[in-house]
Amino acid sequence: MDEDFQDWVLHPGQQNLFWETWLQQHPEKESIVNDARQLVQGIRFRAFSLTAADKEQLWEAVWNGLEETAPTAPVTISRWKHAWKYAAVLLLGIALGAAWWGIQAARRGQTILSTYTRLGETKAVQLPDGSIVTLNADSRLLYAVSGNAREVWLDGEAFFQVKHTANAQQFVVHTYDNLNVEVLGTQFNVNSKGKNIVVVLQQGSILLNITAPRQEKAAALYLRPGEMLTYNRTDGDYSKRSVAADTYTSWHTGRLTMDDYTLHDAAAFMQQVFGKKLIVSDTTLYNDKVSGSMPIIYNPDTMMTQLGKVFRMQFNQRGDEVWIHKK
């Protein structure tokens, strides 16, 4: 079973919105999940753990052994930071829970898989059907095959390269709002990070289903390559326009494409990918624009230095905040 699910089972106090929401949408799965939870909590591998002192001592031994090659002082680590995590992760139960869950899912002809990324990390995964999904930082993906549909639930941003199957099996991307994307085989980007959900089609054709609580806003519309749909998650308004698709999708190949790119855009990028907040002393700077492209380096410091050069500005980091001044 995947870490996320374990984590949710093991730390019920910590809200894991993803699983909670998913469960709400699939009340019929509740008993399965509860079964798994019961098992997970009951059976475990025998616990072996190092005391904090042991851990520190070992860490020092590692550095002492390295002394000849690395004469500078070792970095200290905090004793308690992850202690709670490991205390709880002592389980096999997962095995049986997973097994049971798997058996149940298999009985219903379903496969349920999930993956996620942390801040500063992207990941490309291949689904069992051969489709490739590239997850941007801090995103979660759940995949299920039920009957004749392939379904994924996305929380965050992902670029999809959907494989057309021989039996023309439908592929549906659900967001946690009233917006679904239906496709057969195509390439597109979905970003549900901000206050808008943004869908950009690079190739092929997709059908967007908007199911609003209020009937008049419900709609189904097609997107052509190079078109972008912006859906406001608060009021359910949406609009469609043509864009340079590459600007929105090139991140999945590791490049940042900047087309009249403002500091505002850079701020959104740093926030989404690294969890860094950019603060500008003089807001008129927000209007400076640049165009071009650069590689994305998954290291916040390097990325900031690069962006600083591009905008010819000084980026100073303080914790998770980045202050920007004119050079």
Binding site: G42, I43, F48, V62, G65, L91, G102, I103, V125
Partner: protein, 203 residues
Amino acid sequence: MNTGKAHKSGLRVVASHSSLWGRFLQGDRHAFAEIYEAHIDDLFHYGMHFCQEKERVKDCLQDLFQDLWSSRAHLSPNVLHIRYYLLSSLRRRLLRALRKDRRYQHRESWEAFEFEYTLPQENQLIINETIAEQKRLLHKALSSLTRRQREAIYLRFFQNLRYDEVAEIMSMQVDSVYNTISKAIGLLKKQLPLPLLLLLLGK
């Protein structure tokens, strides 16, 4: 018994970019500390299940992290799964150390990858009389698994490795890993009486 299949078609990571490993390769000590912190408990846990000797495990871990740091210039920048990388390295080191030590030849330790079982609190209040018997049965079922089955289950589910990674670590074919694990789970299902399963699944 379909568990193997349910996971067989899992998500395969085809590429990933993570800052931590990259920073570590560039010689960032904080990144190294983060890697140590993030994995030391799991590595120790695995090591102890593997050979039950605290000092030996600690020695191997010390060597492992020292070598990791001093050979970082030669490591691949594309290590996708740090945990897998460290676990397989630890296993090799432990095996090497155990082979050198004659006392350990041919010792099949039943303590390796041993399970423990505790019933949730609420159930303990409800069914107090049968509990000892239930626990005994469960323990019997769990300890009837072979060391290899337990290790495979451990690596797959406790350490969250993919089947191909488990196969690589244990020097097995991927298919035999599926078989080993699904057999083990089948065995448990067979040995556990229905009431116990219901007790586990009920509530």
